[in-house]
Amino acid sequence: MDQTREIEDFDAVVRLYWPRIFRFALASLRDRDAAESLAQDCFLKAYRARRGFRGEASLSTWLMQIAVNLVRDSIRNRRLRFWNRTRAMAPNFDLASQSLADQHSSPERAVLAKERVAAVWNVVETLSQRQRTVFLLRFVEDLDLLEIAAVTGLREGTVKVHLFRALEALRKRMGETQ
């Protein structure tokens, strides 16, 4: 469907893209209430600006751009104090990763999988805000480098640098845990 026509049915847009925006916000902030609030802000901003949407970027990219800016503002303003909450939220994440453990045949493999996921989260915690955003867009939202560049407003080369640093941190961490 034509992107500019798609946005006319905004309720359908919210239904379609809410999970993605919410997921990115949740992975970035690790706070459900904050993520929900941010997702609502994102769609409210998009709704207000919908007349200006010309379909030059995809609707998904446009919404993600808004979400990335909102996440950046939230972190910059330190309103959410999410690093402090990260520790408090850890048990919740542990609970959520239970489904991951359930997918594995043996308890040992499930434990290993949980440890690997925890190691990745620990690395994500240590990344700079830009590195984290790029990393989450790449490995949670499956965006390629060009899409990440479009969403973040960074040049492709800059995106690559941030991603490489994040992967380097992850590679080191995994080298330590193995």
Partner: protein, 146 residues
């Protein structure tokens, strides 16, 4: 490519830049292949966990409270209704006040008319019966003046 993959090669691989050289080496070298698989698994599990977590959090969250269009329309109606109410009330108040003022003015006018009437009496009201008993005619002084 005979040497093992460098850290940069591994980053390039996961950034999606998989040249034919990289792919060939990954296919031939068991050590590098194991390193890539390990990281690949970790990232896939991380992705799965993030999706699951989001789904769980989203499902346990209250229903999506995104209602700005309705909210805005409702707000506009409330604002319009409130403005109309204020306008009607102000108009009614002004009208009533005008009526009260007019009535007060009428009462004041009547009072002034009454005061004027009482002040203009020739004798006090209590002496009026005596005045009625006397026939007023020309006196001696009046005669002399003639």
């Amino acid at each position: 490519m005979n040497e093992h993959l460098s850290p940069e090669d591994i980053s390039r691989w996961f950034a999606g830049e998989r040249s034919s050289d990289l792919q060939r080496h990954a296919g031939e070298c068991q050590e590098c292949s194991a390193r890539l698989d390990s990281m690949e698994s970790a990232l896939a599990e991380f992705r799965g966990a993030a999706h699951d977590w989001s789904a769980v959090q989203s499902a346990s969250a209250p229903s999506i409270a995104w209602r700005p269009p309705v909210l805005h329309t409702a707000r506009r109606w409330v604002l319009a209704a409130t403005s109309m109410l204020i306008l009607v009330s102000a108009s009614a108040y002004w009208h009533t006040r005008q009526q009260t003022r007019a009535a007060e003015m009428a009462r004041a006018d009547a009072l002034l008319v009454q005061v004027d009437a009482e002040i203009s009496r020739a004798v006090p009201q209590t002496m009026e019966p005596l005045v009625n008993l006397v026939t007023w005619g020309p006196g001696p002084t009046d005669e002399r003046q003639k």
